[in-house]
């Protein structure tokens, strides 16, 4: 059988799997009865509905003709990885090395996702953002965000 819409087929698969995932998960909680719905009642109900919708979308993707097969297209690995990794690195490092260094790596890392990468731009942008964040969050709102590596301040 030929897939008539790649995009719909895979979204259907996604919704169906999500339904299975949450549906199986809801079995860990008491379902109760309609008269006394438990914590698992609503999630189970939703899982069933989303599972059915997923199947309908899959069937639709296999039967309804589309003009170009609605391809998903190439995945932009470079921006995807650069952006997601920069966010995670920022999360890991901020409490440990402070705002200055974490910000430089965040701005530098995410700039890798773009088409042009210049060190001068990165340093300039991270300096501006660090100054702004310090002004707004640390000085202005008094939030406990570390500015410097914990080794230096201890």
């Amino acid at each position: 059988m030929r897939i008539k819409s790649q995009r719909d087929f895979w979204s259907g698969v996604m919704f169906f799997s999500i339904g299975v995932f949450f549906g199986v998960g809801s079995r860990h909680y008491s379902i109760g009865s309609s008269a006394h719905p438990g914590p698992g009642y609503f999630p189970l109900l939703l899982s069933i509905v989303i599972g059915i919708l997923g199947l309908v979308i899959v069937v639709k993707a296999l039967t309804l003709e589309t003009r170009d097969g609605e391809p998903i297209g190439a995945i932009a690995w470079k921006p995807l990885l650069a952006i997601v990794c920069s966010i995670v690195v920022f999360g890991v490092l901020l409490p440990r090395v402070g705002l200055g260094i974490a910000m430089l790596l965040l701005v530098g890392g995410s700039s890798l996702a773009g088409t042009t990468f210049k060190w001068a731009d990165v340093i300039f942008a991270s300096a501006v953002m660090t100054a702004f964040s310090w002004l707004a969050f640390i000085w202005g709102l008094g939030l406990p965000i570390p500015m410097w590596p914990s080794l230096l301040t201890d």
Binding site: S11, A35, G38, F42, L46, F90, L94, T116, G140
Partner: protein, 501 residues
């Protein structure tokens, strides 16, 4: 007239030098936290709650209220400029507001949002003064079954306003509802889907989802396009101010938005947010040519922005007249009143008239300050958009990451944001619209609670939703709304089928 003498009393209270100062402080802080994604009005008000001890009760409430509606203003600025809804109620503003900004019309979008909010704020102030008692009586008629049906109506509205496939939009709403199930069950206290992570027992943060999907994933998909095709911001900025034609289109939308917001705001729960969704779908339905919606139609900014501001204000009604909080923010206001030894409830109006009417009048004064504060800012905001994208996107990243960290002052939300960045990119690739997901997520817990309560009350009888007249009419309305969208699609399909024959 009672109304006028009451408002006069309130105004004289609100324009005292001290109260003016606290009102200004409130709206200023509110705008700031609204613009900065992450720290919301709730957290800010909680931080400032101890200052209530030092202040006079009226001043304290005026300041806290100022933070609340100031944040609504600020939230829409972020939504328009960088497509990240600063507050839950500005999700809708991203749809058309950000598109306008990309077309070089950020100025008219910001102005429409500000003017709409001010107009709605003015009307809502009068509505609060005139209709508090009757509106409260209406809200009291809402039992769990009515709530559930109202939420169904709101969610159908969200589905209708999605521009892509209807069935995928429904699935996205349900996915949102499911994500909203990651929390501690309010009735039994069972933590659900937390995978043993303490952070998840409070639920996934709205801001983490919004930033992941609307902020990060948007950047990834922008960067994945070749530079020439990248539809980011045009260099050409056309006008800071809405044109006569813009005004002509925006004014009726503002009027309708204000009316919707004033009514829905009274209902406990996400009144302000629900009303912005309702207003958007109504504008889209009423428009002669709805094709511009989602591509930068000024009505899609003016209507919802007026609705959410009106809703934010009328949500004070149940709190002031019944002592029932319509949400976490109002619960905090009640907390502040009890700190000052005032028991919220119907008697406040008679026992503390200066406080009651002073607070109401201060809302209008605060809205006036907000528009004076915000209109000149438009020029500055627009200049921000002139920054080349290679500087702008790392800056947005930095802004969002810091915002995520400040949510709970730990890095957990930053990781959640990263996960939703991947999910958001997948949704983009698969052609699934994300706005319905966000609404489902926000309304999920409320929907579950009202469903379970309604079923408990009816002893498991599902027909309770159809036998109660208010609930039935809401469900009929939702069905009609759905039909209105499905029918044209069927017709189109048939036309295509005929062409192929």
């Amino acid at each position: 007239m009672d109304l006028i003498s009451n408002l006069a009393l309130g105004l004289s209270e609100a324009v005292s030098l001290v109260n003016l100062a606290y009102c200004f402080l409130g709206v200023l802080i509110g705008t700031a936290v609204g613009v900065l994604p992450g720290l919301g009005p709730l957290a800010t008000m909680a931080l400032l709650l101890p200052t209530v001890y030092a202040l006079d009760a009226t001043s304290a409430l005026i300041m806290l209220a100022g933070i609340y509606y100031g944040a609504q203003y600020g939230g829409s600025t972020t939504a328009i400029l960088i497509n990240v809804p600063g507050e839950a109620s500005s999700v809708i503003t991203t749809l058309d507001g950000h598109q306008m900004a990309r077309q070089g019309r950020a100025g008219p979008a910001l102005a429409a949002a500000a003017i709409g909010s001010f107009f709605a704020g003015t009307v809502a102030t009068v509505v609060i003064a005139a209709f508090s008692p009757p509106l409260t009586a209406l809200a009291l008629k809402f039992g769990p079954a009515e709530y559930f049906s109202l939420l169904v109506f709101g969610l159908i509205g969200a589905v209708v306003l999605a521009s892509g496939s209807l069935i995928k939009a429904v699935a996205m709403v349900i996915l949102g509802l499911l994500l909203g199930q990651v929390n501690t069950d309010t009735i039994s206290g069972t933590p659900r889907y937390s995978f043993g992570l303490l952070e998840l027992t409070d639920g996934i943060g709205f801001i983490a989802i919004a930033m992941g999907i609307f902020g990060f994933a948007e950047i990834i998909s922008n960067l994945s396009k070749p530079e020439a095709q990248r539809e980011v911001f045009t260099r050409k900025v056309t006008g800071l101010w809405p044109t006569r034609k813009d005004f002509g289109m925006a004014a009726p939308a503002m009027l309708r938005g204000t009316a919707i917001g004033s009514i829905l705001g009274v209902l406990p729960g996400g009144g302000a947010m629900l009303s912005s969704f309702a207003s958007y779908s109504i504008e889209k339905k009423l428009a002669k040519d709805p094709s511009g919606f989602g591509r930068g139609d000024i009505r899609g900014v003016a209507g919802p922005e007026s609705a959410n501001n009106a809703g934010a204000q009328t949500s004070f009604i149940p709190m002031l007249t019944l002592g029932i909080p319509s949400g976490a923010v109002m619960a905090l206001m009640i907390g502040a009143m009890t700190i000052k030894g005032i028991q919220p409830g119907p008697q406040v109006m008679s026992s503390n008239p200066a406080l009651f009417w002073g607070l109401i009048a201060s809302m209008w004064v605060g809205n006036l300050m907000l528009i004076i504060l915000n209109l000149p800012m438009i020029g500055i905001w627009i200049r921000l958009l002139m920054v080349p994208y290679r500087f702008l996107f790392p800056a947005i990243m930095a802004f969002c990451c810091i915002g995520l960290y400040t949510l709970n002052n730990n890095n957990f939300d930053v990781y959640v944001g990263a996960i939703f960045a991947v999910a958001g990119y997948a949704f983009y690739k698969l052609g699934c619209e994300a706005a319905p997901l966000l609404l489902g997520f926000v309304l999920g817990p409320m929907m579950e609670e009202s469903l379970r309560r309604a079923l408990l009350l009816s002893r498991g009888d599902w027909t309770t939703f159809l036998t109660r007249p208010l609930s039935l009419s809401l469900l009929v309305l939702s069905a009609l709304l759905l039909l209105a969208v499905v029918l044209p699609t069927i017709r189109q399909k048939r036309e295509i089928a005929f062409v192929e024959d």
